[in-house]
Symmetry: C2
Subunit: 317 residues, 2 copies
Amino acid sequence: MAAELSLGSAASKPQTENGVSDSISSVIPGWFSEISPMWPGEAHSLKVEKVLFQGKSDYQDVLVFQSSTYGKVLVLDGVIQLTERDECAYQEMITHLPLCSIPNPKKVLVIGGGDGGVLREVARHLSVEQIDICEIDKMVVDVSKEFFPRVAIGYEDPRVTLHVGDGVAFLKAVPEGTYDAIIVDSSDPIGPAQELFEKPFFASVAKALRPGGVVCTQAESIWLHMHIIEDIVTNCRQIFKGSVNYAWTTVPTYPSGVIGFMLCSTEGPTVDFKHPVNSVEVNGIDTAKSPLKFYNSEIHAAAFCLPSFAKKIIDSK
Amino acid sequence: MAAELSLGSAASKPQTENGVSDSISSVIPGWFSEISPMWPGEAHSLKVEKVLFQGKSDYQDVLVFQSSTYGKVLVLDGVIQLTERDECAYQEMITHLPLCSIPNPKKVLVIGGGDGGVLREVARHLSVEQIDICEIDKMVVDVSKEFFPRVAIGYEDPRVTLHVGDGVAFLKAVPEGTYDAIIVDSSDPIGPAQELFEKPFFASVAKALRPGGVVCTQAESIWLHMHIIEDIVTNCRQIFKGSVNYAWTTVPTYPSGVIGFMLCSTEGPTVDFKHPVNSVEVNGIDTAKSPLKFYNSEIHAAAFCLPSFAKKIIDSK
């Protein structure tokens, strides 16, 4: 079930540039409200200055608006994917948690992440020689390039190759042991990303990684989705024979204000995710043009420290 | 300026038990929306099952409602103070960060915190002999005792003495060097809590603490209020001659999903806030009746690891 798309339609009704806003319903007039069965009984709302794009791709509803205090906002199926104000937290953490945990990552695959923000962060790693991205929805790529140039800048790196298609099928065709790291930057497990949370997908990921290779997947909120997280952890412990750890970070515009990551490694050289081997402050990471806003080695280690209620459940799996 | 009190007033208009809901304005019908000049352009909304209490004390508007997914909710001047679902994070962190950082705390003062949740947490420390609380608003105490028994249970500890009055005046009358620890559990610096963020108040706190005593104050969100935090840090570095550190944690129903704490110690025995001397897992903390839900020694240390954008500003003060 897709999330409900909710934008005000009363006095201060926002208009797209070509005047199309018919599908927008009313919650707080002039505000975007994120209402979803994934987080019943609560909604985060952002004041809309202007709707910049509204479209329907083969996979989902795509909306871009200028908010009054969070910059431009990308929304897929009614759910906020990124805002210019806080995207740094998500993009930097989902990328550098895995890539700073192994020495000299060379081949990296991104599944999803069509906005290009993860690519931007992967490209900071000087050891990386090849960056493949498989995004199912071309409209997300195009919209990001048009409205979020500081995010889509990731596509400008010559090491990047974009594959538009299904991540599950793409992975199946990858020769065994190809990648040092795979980053799964998916939306919630309702809609096109559903398969990316299931066991056969994790098995394909493990196969595509070299021994001691690492994966980092978006893994929901400990405050809202412990039941989903339990399943992910259980699946990952069965599939990945190296390390399996849960980490999390703050992203104000995501439901409950936090988002988690599942970090796993395949059998092979040991990966200690909690103690990064690459330090942004010291070696191999390019911050010359644009400094990192969020990630550092301290916050890397801290991301693995969980509140007792979550630790108890995750450790028991 | 007080925050705007916003509750739906359309078809599913919630009613207090005595039918009084005249002052409630319409945002999302049947939902409570937290709209404030402290976080312009965004609002978090919770679905209301039933308004349980609505009153106006000498200091602020007081509202209690049953939400559909966060349990009962306490709102002061339109701003969510606690929900049953996530209050553990705030109460445990604001209490155990300071009290686990010094050996054998004996005398503790709580300023604000009328709901009693901090008292509940302080009372877990077996070394504590005296717990004073100074809350300005008696209505908050009474409402908590009536609607939040698992929070107000803190008042049942025989070591607790409640002083209803102004925290600033109370502190001035305290003999020099009285307390081992002071916890300032205040609302935002708009309204009755304003003085609790100013330099003369911090000077009174420092005077009331013994040498090497500690204070922990509510210190806003790094995502929303860096300018306020900068001022607090600057003030604290001038007043407190021991350690001065900023920590933070996740609280989903607070704006931006996080809240910070300013931890300071007076000149005297060194306090290393980042490495707790008391461990919940090992010594001196009573978790027999009700286990801690959130706090542990790992999350204590992690709370001091800041994102780069915040670390840069705070370290420069």
